[in-house]
């Protein structure tokens, strides 16, 4: 039986939903001059980086059983930052970065 879980900050990047480990989030800022635009600063756990997004949807807890590996066929077809997993819940599918 698996008991692990991860708390994610869900953001809308304009095309898809992304989930970032809440423990890695340093700060969420509104982008000046861009209503509805946010900048998520990450790097509390890993290397510092910023992600611009069009909306912050809140947080969601995913249990280990709701986490799946990224399909190989997709991994090979993504340029830029690659997700480390996929969250599969009743509410939807999120890519975890």
């Amino acid at each position: 039986m698996t008991t692990g879980s991860v708390e994610l900050l869900l953001v809308d990047d304009g095309a898809a939903l992304r989930g970032y480990d809440c423990r890695d989030v340093v700060r969420v800022e509104e982008i000046a001059g861009d209503p509805g635009g946010y900048l998520v600063r990450l790097g509390r756990l890993g290397s510092p980086r910023e992600v611009a997004c069009s909306g912050v949807l809140g947080s969601v807890a995913l249990s280990a059983r709701e986490i799946r590996p990224v399909p190989e066929v997709l991994r090979e077809r993504i340029t830029g930052e690659k997700p480390w997993a996929v969250g599969l819940t009743q509410r939807g599918i999120y890519l975890l970065y």
């Binding site: 898809a16 399909p71 090979e76 599918i93």
Partner: protein
């Protein structure tokens, strides 16, 4: 003249004729089966293909590589993915990457994005440890053809696309492109 007791000829045939008739029926059936087996030996083992359409064109894939055929459910988009990636779908508790076969077959070519997946099908193909769902317009047929009926890829097919095909088959009076699952799954 003598009478055979208990053997009343029916339909004007004597018991001997009936027995001979039965033997001939068996013999012709055996010959038919032997002929079919011989034909199969000459043409190679049969291949069972799933035939489907994308637009006006017909394509097929060997059924041994088809895991299932589904109706599309909600597909979650993925940012930063190549144009042929439609997104991810929950497939009975597993994550399925759905590719637009139209775009796989026309790399770099501007194609009309599928406005809706309603009424379409997803053919889930598995090969070499990889799996993906290919969005197609309609599933047409399951055809059993001798291996010898798979012909080389038509010369008219663009060389950049030719790698995506194993060959060409004729089904229902139409040329059908037999897809290579390996080439379609690997970018």
């Amino acid at each position: 003249m003598f009478e055979v007791i208990g053997m009343v000829p029916t339909s004007g045939m004597s018991p001997l004729d009936e027995a001979r008739e039965e033997l001939l029926r068996e013999a012709s059936f055996d010959a038919e089966v032997t002929g079919r087996e011989k034909a199969r030996e000459e043409s190679g083992p049969a291949r069972t293909l799933l035939v489907f359409s994308v637009g006006a064109e017909m394509y097929a894939v060997d059924l041994v590589h088809v895991r299932k055929v589904l109706r599309p459910a909600r597909i979650a988009r993925v940012s930063g993915a190549s144009p042929e990636v439609l997104g991810l779908m929950n497939c009975q508790g597993e994550v399925l990457c759905v590719l637009d076969l139209r775009k796989v077959l026309s790399p770099g070519k501007e194609t009309v994005p599928p406005r809706a997946t309603e009424g379409k099908f997803i053919v889930v193909v598995q090969h070499g440890g990889k799996e993906a769902g290919f969005l197609v317009d309609a599933v047409r047929d399951v055809a059993e053809l001798p291996a010898s009926s798979v012909h080389p890829v038509l010369d008219s097919i663009d060389p950049s696309r030719a790698r995506l095909f194993e060959g060409t088959v004729a089904s229902g009076g139409q040329f059908v492109g037999l897809l290579s699952p390996s080439a379609c799954l690997n970018p």
